[in-house]
Symmetry: C2
Subunit: 438 residues, 2 copies
Amino acid sequence: RINEKRLMSDLHATCEWGKGERWGDGETDIGMSRLSLSDADKQARDWFAETTQSLGCKVTVDAMGNQFAVRPGTSDGVPVYAGSHLDTQPTGGRYDGILGVCAGVEMLKTLNDNWVETSYPVGVVNWTNEEGARFPKSMVSSGVWAESIPLEDAHNLKSVIPANDTATMKSELERIGYLGSTPASYKSTPMAAHFELHIEQGPILEAGDRRIGVVRGVQAYKWFTVTVRGRDSHTGATQFRHRADALLTASKMIIASHKIAHKHSALASTGILTLKPGSTNTVPGFVQFSLDIRSPRNETVDEVEAECKKAFEEIAAGEDIDTGSAPSERHCSVEWKTDFVSPATFFHDDCIKCVQEAGNDLCGQGEVKDLDIGAWGKFMTSGAGHDSVYTNKRFPTSMIFVPCRDGVSHNPAEYSSPEACADGANVLMGAVLRYDKL
Amino acid sequence: RINEKRLMSDLHATCEWGKGERWGDGETDIGMSRLSLSDADKQARDWFAETTQSLGCKVTVDAMGNQFAVRPGTSDGVPVYAGSHLDTQPTGGRYDGILGVCAGVEMLKTLNDNWVETSYPVGVVNWTNEEGARFPKSMVSSGVWAESIPLEDAHNLKSVIPANDTATMKSELERIGYLGSTPASYKSTPMAAHFELHIEQGPILEAGDRRIGVVRGVQAYKWFTVTVRGRDSHTGATQFRHRADALLTASKMIIASHKIAHKHSALASTGILTLKPGSTNTVPGFVQFSLDIRSPRNETVDEVEAECKKAFEEIAAGEDIDTGSAPSERHCSVEWKTDFVSPATFFHDDCIKCVQEAGNDLCGQGEVKDLDIGAWGKFMTSGAGHDSVYTNKRFPTSMIFVPCRDGVSHNPAEYSSPEACADGANVLMGAVLRYDKL
Ligand SMILES: NC(=O)NCCC(=O)O
Ligand SMILES: NC(=O)NCCC(=O)O
């Protein structure tokens, strides 16, 4: 069993780097704002490297800044990894990603304390920019490692926080000293398997009073940038019929995407919107917004995308006029760019079995097995993407979920109890050791 | 008669400071981006001071940076002013404001060339931050001068361009050396009358093939900042029914304001929208947007405001669910702040008469008088606010409009022909000289 106190004290200690908004009175009731490749992220990375080295690991950094810490086994061979990420949302919490990495480090400490020798090496990996918040492609560095995303595309990604930042992933990797010399490829840093502990980020486990979620896969999603072009004009001197109002048009599009997704039991969300010129008395002639479409089924994501494309064209052309809207003789144009595609993911049966067994071992036989939830029956489907999506493309992978309060995530008040965190860390270690045996 | 070539060459020369976007192939087919109290604005101000001094004027700068250049008359007394502004929108044109000031300077040159002595002094005034683009209160410096806006409120106004700028009006006035020692008050720099030449910024004169518009008044308007607060949450892991999506909510409000204004034949416009945290996979928990409501009638502006307040409350509380929207168990809050109020303005009959006579003198008897347009009969109502709104509160005022292409303004492609500019400058000078006689 892992050491719950030590796990939580490591987790909260590392959360000193990149502290965010306070949301409660407790000592650690503070969110996180540790954007990928920021100074705070560098501090967390340095801690990860120093700590795992002091525990006897060899640490490799690749060309995407991914950090691989490996503890030797009785025999040489390809390591089984526990992995997640240390970057956060701009207004994120203390658990998303961080718990997975800290639980991996806690696993190393527990193995050392108990003089456990594994048959093959075991490792912990910290993936770069999983969130896709600062550089808007989620899981981009495991994506490059899986050779699903070209290195150059990833290196050239531009920071979107703060607005008008000119940094790229490459320039920031260089700046903080994490542009590693090892190629970012599963061929250079192969894995026997990859296990990821994560907070659920949804309400299912909490509602069902379950301690452990065995994750069967991850829903499909696509990210787009939509650009609406109209005409800058005077708010006081331009009648509605002479306007091409890019913001009014974008507002209609956001609502349309919501309705179309709802009809398909899918999700559509806009998290970023910028406009030009940005003056109280100028009708904006330019709006750009992000669109994130998700569903457990690839086909549904494609259907929502196609319907949104059609609806947005009609809205831009002014064909949407419903009761009460003023028609206009001038219209907007609309343009789509696809930023990121992550098809539905199905994890490996061997890994799922290891997680299930480790869960039953902790919680009692049957506790985990009988969980009858999620889109595909008895195991869970993750609503969020994870680096495990990409490791699964190359090597056996699965995930462990633990409950988080109210299902809240990407919010400073994100919270999982110390007991839940310890449960997850125990199942993570159990799954890694089971796979090592396998 | 003024010198058309010289007027246009002065106008375009000053437009070298703060050049904006190119929109055509011609030498001067370039918009303006000369934000108030920027370095470029300082250059234009320096030109104004040096030029008017070299023409024999005494220049006074007040505590809002307003520049008053006065040419002596035969007798001492309170001057008749021609005035407008040299600041522009972030994506503005070469005529809005700039034409009025340059025509004032051209008037001084013409009077000097022809050894014209006026009975009393005549002046030209350059008002600070008329646009309200950088510091979001339009006509704020004539407003302080009229003692309608407290000096401290104006000095503390924060720059909104670029986003996150920390400058205030006062700090920028100090930085560029235009925090004058004269109190910003109509008592310190009184006027016999104020005449302002401006491009129409609307399509009426062009459509009616009219050279000169006699302006009867300015429509009412109010500016608000609306803040919507929801909850940051994960776009992939948060079902619609658990969201409090501040951007979806704001989108509905923008559309509602448009419909309400349309119903009242008024205008409602949003030119600024910012959100937090601004990440593709986080539902925004915070949105702030500007709302600009206008109508020729004060009561209509108040009605639109009241109906928007009611509608926004309902939308925030999730009571708006129409066909196809997903309901939510969580709601947003909404808050209004009033930033600026400019009631409907009616100019002074004496000044209107001077403009009308000067127009008839230029265009032929009856040309101006018979113009049967606008909300109040034969004279025009300005859709845009102008510093003349505030001078009119203290001293007789009116305005002269000249046609601009397609009614386009607050856009780089804003354009008035040299002939139209010269027409306006001639009527401006004619009106000033007539009032001097009066
Ligand atoms: N776990 C997590 O929040 N990942 C970010 C990628 C996503 O948007 O789903
Ligand atoms: N003339 C002009 O564009 N003034 C700006 C103030 C307004 O918004 O009407």
